[in-house]
Each structure stands twice: as structure tokens, then as C-alpha cells.
């Protein structure tokens, strides 16, 4: 038991690597703050284009969506990070993670917004047009506001999943929370930094996960 505590709960040793892990935590937080809103915006643009674009645009967006939904985000990151530089296109680690996860997350958000928009009855479009609003105005002022509410549960769930996915940064050696915990482990010779990183993720995401599950259960029961 003592050996367990000395290895896994050696919080004294973590104090020595606190600056390292603090920097990692900041990077992770920055990734989340940049990636989640950007991906949401991309998703919204894709969903709007699907409403207003011609047939070709719509097909392109379906291809885009299916492509990024099929492609594991980690493979995308590795491809951007180590495949593109040979063609002369070089991203640094931060840009790689942001580009990869925004492209990936945008596809998922796009699908969710599209589902929300399509759930708004056709009559709302007709009524808006009858009032003399232009199509874009109908979309922005009538349809879009109504489309968000039914898709709040999947939106929330996707926000959490995307925020969690920023931990993939470790795979392209961006010094985020997980990477710095690994480095810290090699400095203090015990796995407590990894345990601490795990605990930080747990404490941060637990309330959000709980919220998502409440939202999902409630919305499913309401639909029956």
C-alpha cells in the first residue's frame, strides 16, 4: 500500500514539475477555446450552405462530411503533421492539431445543425416568405433560432467529445497536458503526474458528461 502511494499518489514530487504541467494545462485549455468555437462555426456554415447552395454544393458537403466522419482524427493529425511537409506545406504542432480537429469537428457539427434545420417545419419557411422576408432573412431570423433547441443534447455531447479529443495533441508531441505529464513522469520517476493529468480531465469533464447524459435522456423521453 505504501509502495502504491509512493508511486501513484506522490503529490510531493508533482510540486517539482508543477510549472511544466501548468504550461501543459494552459496549452490544452487554449486548444479547447480555439477549436470548439471554430469547429462550431464551420459546422454552421456547412449547414447553411446545404440550405442555400445548389445541388453540386450539397453533394460536395455530403462528401466532405462523410469523409471526415470516416477518417479517424488521429490519422488526420499524423497525415497533416508528417505527410504534408514533404509536399512543402508545413504546419507547426499547434496549427496541426487546430486544423485537424476543426476540419473533423466541423463535419460533426454540420450534421447536427443540418438535422436541427430540417426539423423545422416547412411552413415556417413559407410563412416567413409570405411576410416578405428574403430567404436569407427567413433562415437567420425564423428558422435558425428554432433549429437549435431540439439539437442541444447532441451539440453538448459533441462539444465534450471535441474538447476531449484535444488530448490527441500528445500524438504529434504538442506539449499539452498529457504530453507534459509524460515528460514529468520521466523527471520524477513515478507515474503520479499521469495520474494527476487523468484526475484533471476527470474533474473538468465529469460535470459536463453528467449534463449531457441528463439532456439526452430527457430529450429521448420527450420524443416518445
Amino acid at each position: 500500500m505504501d509502495a502504491f502511494a509512493a508511486n501513484f499518489l506522490n503529490f510531493g514530487s508533482v510540486l517539482r514539475v508543477l510549472p511544466l504541467m501548468g504550461a501543459g494545462l494552459r496549452t490544452s485549455a487554449l486548444l479547447i477555446v480555439v477549436i470548439v468555437p471554430a469547429a462550431m462555426l464551420l459546422g454552421l456554415v456547412l449547414a447553411a450552405l446545404q440550405q442555400f447552395g445548389g445541388k453540386a454544393t450539397r453533394r460536395c458537403i455530403v462528401v466532405y462530411t462523410d469523409f471526415f466522419r470516416s477518417f479517424p482524427p488521429l490519422v488526420l493529425l499524423v497525415f497533416l503533421y508528417s505527410g504534408l511537409p514533404l509536399a512543402g506545406l508545413r504546419f507547426n504542432e499547434f496549427q496541426t492539431v487546430v486544423t485537424g480537429l476543426v476540419l473533423n469537428g466541423g463535419a460533426f457539427f454540420g450534421e447536427i445543425f443540418r438535422a436541427g434545420i430540417e426539423a423545422v417545419p416547412r411552413g415556417q419557411w413559407d410563412a416567413g416568405t409570405a411576410l416578405g422576408l428574403r430567404p436569407w432573412q427567413v433562415f437567420r431570423r425564423v428558422v435558425l433560432p428554432q433549429s437549435i433547441h431540439p439539437v442541444v443534447p447532441p451539440l453538448a455531447s459533441n462539444v465534450v467529445e471535441l474538447a476531449k479529443a484535444t488530448s490527441l495533441a500528445a500524438a504529434v508531441s504538442l506539449p499539452d497536458l498529457l504530453t507534459s505529464a509524460r515528460q514529468a513522469q520521466d523527471i520524477v520517476y513515478n507515474p503520479t503526474p499521469l495520474v494527476v493529468a487523468g484526475l484533471i480531465y476527470l474533474v473538468t469533464f465529469w460535470p459536463l458528461v453528467r449534463l449531457v447524459s441528463i439532456l439526452e435522456t430527457r430529450s429521448l423521453s420527450r420524443r416518445i
Partner: protein
């Protein structure tokens, strides 16, 4: 243009790296199969246990599920692979990856099945009780078949995401597809194997994604 062809679509390198990549794809499929089998069966078992409404068991299940959903898979893999050896528990990388991904999938599917079970209208079990059926029979013949059906549309997207996460196993050097892609790229100093591997990933998962659209529509229509 010739450059792009030489860099990414170099058929010579494709041909040479294909055996290794196919072996990797096989490993990816093994990981995915193990994750799906363990994850879905554990998830279903937990949802059924929770439906028995034994308070202490339910609390334990909810806590496990929440924890597994809150911590990213890659963090769990790192903990199992890099931290557990300090407790003299050395698991093969493949096992670490499957454990991490399956626990994640089990949590997600428990949530989905449980949401489905709860969504079955109360009147169903009341009617069954009025017919004199026992609690277990009601659960097995009335609640579960409907609950699982209702839960499936919630589950497909997430199950696919987690199955795609088998690529995470590459960070602990399981020789699955992504790992082989990187290795082969290093061998030939050319990203053509990376491109070929990416195409293989698409070939594996594109049908799954398209199929899930169909599945979701089907179950929606069934209601």
C-alpha cells in the same frame, strides 16, 4: 502535379508497403472487433443491471460510466501502459488499447441503452404487471426489446467514433494500420504509404458511416 503523384501516389512504394499496411489493417480490425464485442456486451449488461433498480449497484455503475466518459481514451491508454507497470502490472499494448476503448464504449452504450429503457412508456410495464408477468419477464420480454431499439440511434455515431479510436493504439506501438503507415513512411522516406493507409482507413470506415445513416433512419422509421 508530377510531384504530388511521386509523393503520394507512387505506385512502386504503394506496392512495396502494401503487405505491411494490410497486416496493420488486419490488426485494426482485430482491435475494432475486440472493442465492439467487449464494449457493447459490458454496456448492455450494465444497463440491464441498472434496470433492476438495486440502488447501490446503480450508483456504482453510474460512477464508473461517468468516469469512463469523462476521461479521454488516449489518457486511459497512457495510464494503463505507462503508469500500471509501476504497480508491477504489465499489460501488452494491445490489451491496454482494447481495455481503454472498450471501457469507453461500454460507458457510452450503457448510457444509450439506459436512456432507451427509460424512454419505454410506464404503461407498458404496468400493463404487463396487470397480466401477472413477473418482474424479470417484464424486463426481458417487454422493456429490453423496446429499450434497445430506442437506444440504438443514440449509440451508432458514438460507437463509430470509438471504433475509429483504434488508431490511438499506435501511440503505444501496437502495429495497427496507423502505426504501420508511419513506419513504412520512414522506411521509404516518402509519404505514399501514408496516403495508401489513409485510403484503407476510408475503405474500412466509409461503409460503416454510410451504413449508420441507414440504420438511424430505419430505427426512426420503425417508431
Amino acid at each position: 502535379m508530377g510531384d504530388i503523384l511521386h509523393l503520394y501516389f507512387n505506385l512502386g512504394y504503394w506496392w512495396d508497403s502494401a503487405p505491411a499496411l494490410l497486416r496493420g489493417a488486419g490488426r485494426t480490425l482485430e482491435l475494432a472487433a475486440a472493442t465492439l464485442i467487449f464494449g457493447l456486451s459490458c454496456g448492455l449488461a450494465m444497463a440491464v443491471t441498472r434496470a433492476l433498480r438495486i440502488a447501490p449497484l446503480s450508483v456504482v455503475i453510474v460512477m464508473m460510466v461517468d468516469a469512463a466518459r469523462a476521461v479521454p481514451g488516449i489518457v486511459v491508454i497512457f495510464l494503463l501502459y505507462f503508469a500500471l507497470p509501476y504497480a508491477d502490472i504489465r499489460l501488452p499494448a494491445f490489451v491496454c488499447a482494447v481495455l481503454a476503448l472498450a471501457s469507453n464504449l461500454a460507458a457510452v452504450s450503457e448510457e444509450a441503452f439506459w436512456a432507451g429503457i427509460q424512454a419505454v412508456p410506464r404503461g407498458q410495464s404496468e400493463a404487463a404487471r396487470a397480466l401477472g408477468l413477473s418482474r424479470l419477464v417484464i424486463l426481458r420480454r417487454i422493456i429490453m426489446p423496446q429499450g434497445i431499439r430506442l437506444g440504438i440511434p443514440l449509440l451508432t455515431g458514438k460507437a463509430i467514433s470509438i471504433t475509429k479510436d483504434t488508431a490511438l493504439a499506435s501511440v503505444v506501438a501496437v502495429p495497427e494500420l496507423l502505426n504501420q503507415m508511419s513506419t513504412e513512411q520512414g522506411v521509404y522516406a516518402n509519404p505514399s504509404p501514408l496516403m495508401l493507409g489513409a485510403i484503407m482507413f476510408l475503405l474500412i470506415f466509409l461503409p460503416v458511416v454510410r451504413g449508420s445513416r441507414w440504420l438511424e433512419r430505419r430505427f426512426q422509421w420503425a417508431r
